[in-house]
């Protein structure tokens, strides 16, 4: 009986074959597009490619030029400011709204729809609307001035030093609804008994949120962070629609630098070098996290 032994062991490759076949599109995308595209980009960032990609290597020239370009430096700085504030504000606003929505309020559906609807609109639309609202001649400034505060100044889109905050306002308008939804879902997942325990303990609600509930929502915050952060790195449309990077270069962002240099300046090499820098930044933040979160170490969720 034990003689027909281990012969029947099927080969590793054909086990789970359907799953492997079904995953082919994913593998192709991951390998060809994301990995291949990235490699391709990195390789061509060392060339002097202009309009068309050509393998004329020039070493680190493109990088040297990149890091001496004032516009790139401004872009990086803007991204940092925008990123930090947008992370903080969307988390805080999203969480506060979710916490309010979680108070067994009336009209919950209505409020949720109101907070969420901007997410249905594209950045182009968002940018356009807020450009219009923030326009000093038509928008909020002119209305406030018309009401009597002649000295009122609110023209973020035309003021180099605060233009990035003007973009932030629009971005938050568009994106906090989703964050609110994520947070709300997270709050709904908190054990009812925790609330009861803290009430019996006499802990004020805000302290319960701060010291008990928020720490319990780590996974939600992580997911939210991924979604917001990926949006931040990619921010482009909104800037184009709202300010086109202006005034001057005051609201430029890295993704726009990449696009402009690749296509408008017809200097692919420069664009690729900038892309590579963005990729490296992303990778430094993401890869260890993604590995911990999804990689081999951890078990099924």
């Amino acid at each position: 009986m034990s003689s027909n032994a281990r012969a029947g062991r099927p080969s590793r490759l054909t086990r789970n074959l359907s799953a492997k076949i079904a995953s082919v599109p994913m593998m192709l995308t991951a390998v060809v597009i994301f990995l291949g595209g990235t490699l391709w980009t990195v390789i061509y960032s060392f060339t002097s490619s202009k309009l068309l990609p050509r393998l004329k290597f020039v070493g680190l020239d493109q990088y040297e030029r990149l890091w001496s370009a004032p516009r790139w430096l401004v872009s990086i700085e803007n991204l940092a400011i925008y990123g930090i504030f947008s992370l903080i504000f969307s988390m805080v606003i999203g969480f506060v709204l979710a916490a309010l929505m979680d108070q067994k309020i009336r009209f919950e559906n209505t409020f949720r729809t109101i907070f969420l609807y901007p997410f249905a609109l594209s950045f182009i639309v968002t940018g356009l609307v807020w450009q219009w609202l923030l326009n000093p001649e038509h928008g909020i400034q002119s209305v406030v001035r018309a009401m009597g505060w002649a000295g009122f100044e609110f023209d973020p889109l035309y003021n180099s030093s605060i233009v990035i905050y003007g973009i932030l306002i629009a971005a938050l308008w568009q994106g906090t609804g989703l964050v609110m939804c994520l947070m709300l879902a997270g709050l709904r997942g908190i054990d009812e008994d925790i609330w009861k325990a803290s009430r019996v303990d006499g802990i004020p609600m805000w302290k319960t949120y701060l010291f008990v509930v928020i720490p319990m929502m780590r996974p939600v915050f992580v997911t939210t962070l991924v979604i917001i952060a990926s949006g931040i790195v990619r921010v482009y449309d909104l800037v184009v629609a709202q300010t086109s990077g202006g005034p001057g270069i005051a609201s430029e962002v890295p993704a726009k630098y990449v696009y402009d240099y690749m296509f408008q300046a017809q200097n692919l090499g420069q664009g690729f070098a900038a892309s590579t820098m963005m990729l490296i930044t992303v990778a430094i933040i993401i890869v260890p996290w993604a590995y911990l979160e999804f990689g081999g170490g951890r078990k099924r969720v």
Partner: protein
């Protein structure tokens, strides 16, 4: 004896004391804070929509004179008509209408295919884990952070090589690729949250990879499919870059017309037409939200929130 003592001490306050539900002042501080904040926030979120609608109903002279928040003195639907059917880009003066069906033609297959592929990925990743699957998934997630613009060139090359550049299928592939990271993440988390025993039971019953997927998993996953559908419809409908780079004019989606209308300035900006065009373009995703918003939150709770 104890009992009498107790009876003697209580009755005085017995009937008089608090009874029934805790009294609630209609406007407790808490209520004021909660609703106050919510209403202020709601105003912030609604203001742009209000301005858009009001502006789109005004004539140009009124816009030039008045303040943006003032309701229209004289309601006109002309901007809407113009935006829909006669605004010009270059030589084409048929407004957004020509892009509408293109958008539908792009959005429907792209949404379906991208969701189909991502849900199968998520299913394979959570139930049929094979060696190396996690590596691909990790790459995919990192891919979610790559700016689209960066990938534009490689994708142009890939599509050219497989001969799909400029066709509708090419565009569908592009949308599928860029929807894949987040959708796969959503589906993977959702499927991982379903009881594993269900999967095992189906295997014992002899159902294979596809049998389990179609007969067991899909029917149980309405909420997450709704979330994915909303995300994709919004994303694809609103897309401008891919629509214009990977297709030709006869397939240009509505957003291209929107961009053209908004950016083709003829003398002064026709804000009313722009706003009408903006609302018209956003109408489809907005509608999808209003109709299925409730399921959205449920699906998010089921699929996104578990890290």
């Amino acid at each position: 004896m104890k009992k009498t003592a107790h009876l003697a001490e209580v009755p005085a306050s017995w009937e008089a004391g608090p009874r029934g539900a805790r009294p609630r002042r209609l406007l407790s501080t808490r209520t004021i804070v909660v609703y106050g904040t919510l209403f202020v926030a709601a105003a912030y979120y609604l203001l742009p929509l209000y301005v858009m609608i009001v502006t789109s109903l005004k004539g140009m002279p009124e816009i030039r004179l008045g303040n943006i928040f003032a309701p229209p003195l004289e309601i006109t639907f002309e901007p809407w008509v113009k935006a829909w059917s006669s605004a010009c880009t270059g030589l084409n003066c048929d407004g957004l209408s020509r892009g509408f069906w293109n958008s539908v033609m792009i959005t429907v297959p792209s949404t379906i295919i991208s969701i189909a592929i991502a849900s199968i990925n998520g299913y394979a990743l959570s139930n049929w884990r094979f060696k190396g699957a996690d590596i691909f998934f990790t790459i995919l997630i990192v891919g979610a952070f790559i700016p689209y613009q960066v990938m534009l060139y490689p994708i142009v090359i890939v599509l050219r090589e497989i001969g799909l550049y400029g066709s509708l299928s090419g565009l569908v592939i592009v949308h599928t690729i860029f929807g894949m990271p987040i959708l796969t993440l959503l589906f993977r988390n959702y499927f991982a949250g379903l009881p594993e025993e269900l999967f095992k039971a189906a295997r014992v019953d002899g159902a294979g990879f596809w049998g389990i997927y179609f007969k067991i998993m899909v029917p149980m996953s309405l909420p997450i499919f709704v979330v994915a559908m909303i995300l994709q419809v919004t994303g694809i409908w609103n897309d401008f870059l891919f629509g214009v780079v990977f297709t030709r004019p006869e397939y240009y989606p509505m957003t291209v017309q929107l961009n053209n209308i908004v950016n083709s300035v003829q003398g002064v900006k026709e804000y009313n037409v722009n706003m009408a065009a903006t609302i018209l373009t956003g109408a489809v995703p907005l509608l999808v939200y209003f109709v299925s918003g409730r399921l959205f939150v449920r699906g998010i709770a089921a699929g996104a929130v578990k890290g």
